[in-house]
């Protein structure tokens, strides 16, 4: 059982709706995607969703047994350790592919390899819906609520009047799943801590918020902590940090109430470390969105997992998988590994004729962030 090689593919997908947050409220329609396969001499391959260039790291895993994934994670993180989180994407990609391999080699779904008793994860809906009209917001959340999803997260941050109105739209749409749906909001680091205290205080006159995500800079543990102490809602953050060491100050300083976790934090291996640290502090974690919700496999096995972000934005155009959302839970299949196969014909079709539309990278920061709120320019939102 040896790792023999790897393959990469890149392609573009077009979403089923434009997605955007306060930093890019016009939204994006197409995105560059990467696929990474790590191959073995058994003819089994592990899959990860990444365009990371792993060439310089591959000699560290070549010829090794992929089932030794945690040991290989240690080797990868130790290698060129001075680069720190700059290599996090590379480590994450390899780690995810190796876990997929490990589960496939045991002929079981990855959630069972991680030790979960069931492949079920509570979901919340996330429209990343800044470009959507109120009616479109309602339709998205109602569609999710009809499958039992009783929580939603709204992107907001530059127009408090519209934001409050749209939280109400989301709540009404979700109310068929629960009389008191869980309401979350996300400002993607657009506010300062005191702006957060003022604006969330205003929102909380109208709504009971479960949490506000990224209400200050990712590293500002003092600011996040002071915001948490002056609002009722929990503070969620962590998606832009990339290792347990970067997350530790947030936890130590009680700057976070819901820790955002993702395999981008050093793969499944690094992500699980962070969840365990959070668990020591009795903190819930919430898994960020992922292609085909692949990281739900780990979430299913975490003792302190709250709910996972589900987009259903149509990322998965050449991916084949079996998965449903039932009674508000992501239900993973019994297929081995991540349970995701790539439809090569569809991949080639996407590569030959890339879909067009406005694209996203890089994710720039909106002017005024943390200083003043720059409202929408005329026509900027393009909400129909």
């Amino acid at each position: 059982m040896k790792i023999t090689g790897y393959r990469c593919e890149q392609y573009q997908v077009r979403f089923n709706r434009p997605i955007g947050d306060v930093n890019r409220p016009t939204g994006i329609e197409v995105m560059q995607m990467g696929l990474l396969w790590i191959d073995t001499d058994e003819g089994v391959s592990g899959l990860a969703f990444s365009a990371a260039d792993i060439a310089d790291a591959f000699p560290l895993i070549e010829g090794r047994d992929p089932r030794e994934v945690v040991g290989l994670w240690r080797a990868l993180t130790a290698d060129r350790f001075a680069a720190g989180s700059h290599r996090a994407g590379l480590v994450a990609a390899i780690d995810v592919a190796l876990w997929d391999l490990k589960a496939k080699l045991a002929a079981e779904p990855l959630w069972r390899t991680f030790g979960a008793t069931a492949g079920r994860v509570k979901a919340y809906a996330s429209g990343i819906e800044y470009p959507l009209s109120d009616d479109e917001v309602f339709a998205f959340y109602r569609g999710m609520a009809e499958r039992g999803v009783d929580g939603g997260k709204l992107k907001m941050g530059m127009d408090l009047t519209a934001d409050i109105r749209r939280i109400g739209v989301m709540r009404d749409a979700l109310s068929v799943a629960s009389p008191r749906p869980r309401l979350m909001v996300d400002v993607n680091e657009y506010w300062s801590p005191k702006q957060t205290v003022r604006f969330v205080g205003e929102i909380e006159k109208h709504f009971d918020l479960t949490y506000i995500e990224e209400p200050a800079r990712r590293w500002d543990y003092r600011g996040l902590a002071s915001a948490s102490r002056q609002i009722r809602a929990g503070v969620a953050t962590g998606e832009n940090l990339h290792s347990i060491g970067e997350v530790q100050p947030l936890i130590q300083e009680q700057a976070v109430d819901f820790l955002n976790v993702t395999p981008a934090q050093g793969g499944f291996t690094g992500c699980r470390q962070i969840a365990h640290l959070a668990h020591a502090y009795e903190l819930p974690v919430t898994m960020m969105n992922a292609f085909a919700n692949y990281s739900a496999h780990l979430a299913a096995a975490l003792p302190n997992h709250f709910a996972m972000e589900v987009l259903e934005a149509g990322f998965e155009q050449c991916l084949q998988f079996e998965q449903t959302i039932e009674d508000g839970f992501i239900v993973l299949s019994e297929r081995p590994g991540l349970g995701i196969e790539v439809d090569t014909a569809e991949l080639r079709r996407l590569q030959a004729d890339p879909p067009t539309g406005s694209s996203g990278h890089p994710f720039t920061r909106r002017p005024g962030a943390g200083l003043w709120v720059q409202g929408p320019e005329a026509g900027e939102l393009g909400r129909s």
């Binding site: 030790g115 347990i244 997350v247 640290l277 020591a280």
Partner: protein, 400 residues
């Protein structure tokens, strides 16, 4: 694969020497344990080793939570057992029962993959430094020397931990004996001392500073009560040696005050605390604080498997080069000062049925438990000298 039943067998065994610490300086020469065999409809059996008190709790947990279940999703089953006993059972015998069942489940999980546990967990190099721990308070100076000399010369071990706490002059002298014995292997042996909670924080500071006039200590273990996170922190701030603590905590949550108040420099981790599952969680949490973990001694030296996936594993404690229990063997071995796990499936334990038959007991012999005399009088207050009766090994405890 489904769990069908559990069998438990109590056994006793002769220890290779008197074992004891500041709470039982007279020591004990007899050990006892419980072999647990978790049975499945596939014929595969998961093995666990625990103390003798867990049998009723083990039976109840198997009936209530495990029977008929697929044993492979171990973390979920651990959570189910822990959640069932959430109100009153996060420590004590219930916790011990959960720990041994978790051990048996991981053994089954790895066996069902036909691979050693270290590989199931994802480890790549099942190799970690180990240190000799004689549990040596009852030993004469000559026997103390012989033990560490053998561990150094025959097994390549370069680190040792002395039980201390009652007689400071003797402790200073005896640490020199440990150092000299280990110096046959390395010019700079790592020296640790362990007071097993016999001191108050200020006693610990006075005594450790006196040690440090003569010795470079790698750590001082349990220099104050397990829950005294403020006292441990004060010791940590006052001595050069690392404070190593946590051995008698049971759950991840118990460690929260240590992490939050930076009470320990080295976190003790053991599968005996609550199972392999929480041991992995505790090590991850410690890693977030850049804290190393020191793994305790465990049946069949099984912690070699766990260390392989702990990026912060510093060292593992060993008492003897082979299990003293006699009723099972292990393929974990000491190789020139390193603990190395083998390739046998699961935990690598093999039961010796003949020995087990010979050593089976209906009830554990008196004073065969790990702390036969409880906490010694004077602890945290003043030192009570070792009595002649204790020195001759014929009493288990004092009632001062």
């Amino acid at each position: 694969m489904k769990i069908t039943d559990v069998a438990t067998t109590l056994f006793s065994y002769d220890l290779p020497r008197y074992l004891g610490d500041a709470n039982s300086p007279g020591g004990r020469k007899t050990g006892s344990g419980c072999l647990l065999e978790l049975q499945t409809d596939s014929g595969m059996t998961g093995l666990g080793i625990a103390g003798t008190g867990v049998v009723p709790q083990v039976r109840a947990l198997v009936e209530e939570t495990l029977e008929g279940e697929d044993p492979r999703p171990v973390r979920g089953l651990w959570q189910r057992m822990a959640s069932r006993h959430f109100k009153g059972g996060h420590d004590g015998l219930v916790n011990d029962a959960i720990a041994v069942l978790d051990m048996a489940l991981w053994d089954l999980r790895a066996k069902s993959n036909d691979e050693p546990l270290w590989k199931t967990l994802g480890g790549a190099r099942p190799r970690v430094p180990c240190y000799a721990s004689g549990l040596d308070m009852p030993l004469t100076d000559a026997a103390l020397h012989d033990y560490y000399h053998t561990m150094a010369v025959d097994h390549g071990i370069r680190a040792g931990k002395l039980k201390v706490g009652i007689d400071q002059d003797a402790d200073l002298r005896r640490l020199g004996i440990v150092r000299d014995a280990l110096a046959t292997r390395t010019p700079n042996p790592q020296l640790m001392i362990d007071a097993n909670e016999y001191w108050s924080p200020k006693q610990a500071i006075r005594k450790v500073l006196e040690f440090e006039q003569e010795f470079d200590l790698t750590w001082v273990e349990e220099p104050a009560r397990r829950w005294d996170f403020l006292g441990l922190r004060r010791i940590k701030d006052a001595v050069k040696a690392a404070v190593c603590a946590g051995e008698n905590l049971d759950t991840l949550g118990d460690f929260l005050p240590y992490f939050h108040h930076q009470s320990a420099d080295i976190i003790q981790v053991s599968s005996g605390m609550g199972g392999i599952t929480p041991a992995l969680q505790i090590a991850d949490a410690a890693f977030g604080f850049e804290l190393p973990v020191a793994l305790g001694a465990a049946p069949g030296m099984l912690h070699a498997h766990l260390a392989a996936v702990m990026p912060n594993a510093m060292t593992v404690e060993v008492f003897d080069p082979a299990p003293a229990e006699g009723v099972f063997s292990t393929d974990v071995r000491i190789d020139d000062g390193w603990l190395v796990a083998g390739d046998a499936p699961g935990l690598g334990l093999t039961i010796d049925r003949e020995a087990l038959t010979r050593q089976t007991v209906a009830a554990p012999p008196a004073r065969s438990g790990p702390s036969p005399a409880g906490r010694r009088p004077g602890a945290g207050l003043y030192e009570v000298a070792i009595t002649p009766a204790e020195a001759s090994h014929d009493v288990g405890g004092l009632s001062v």
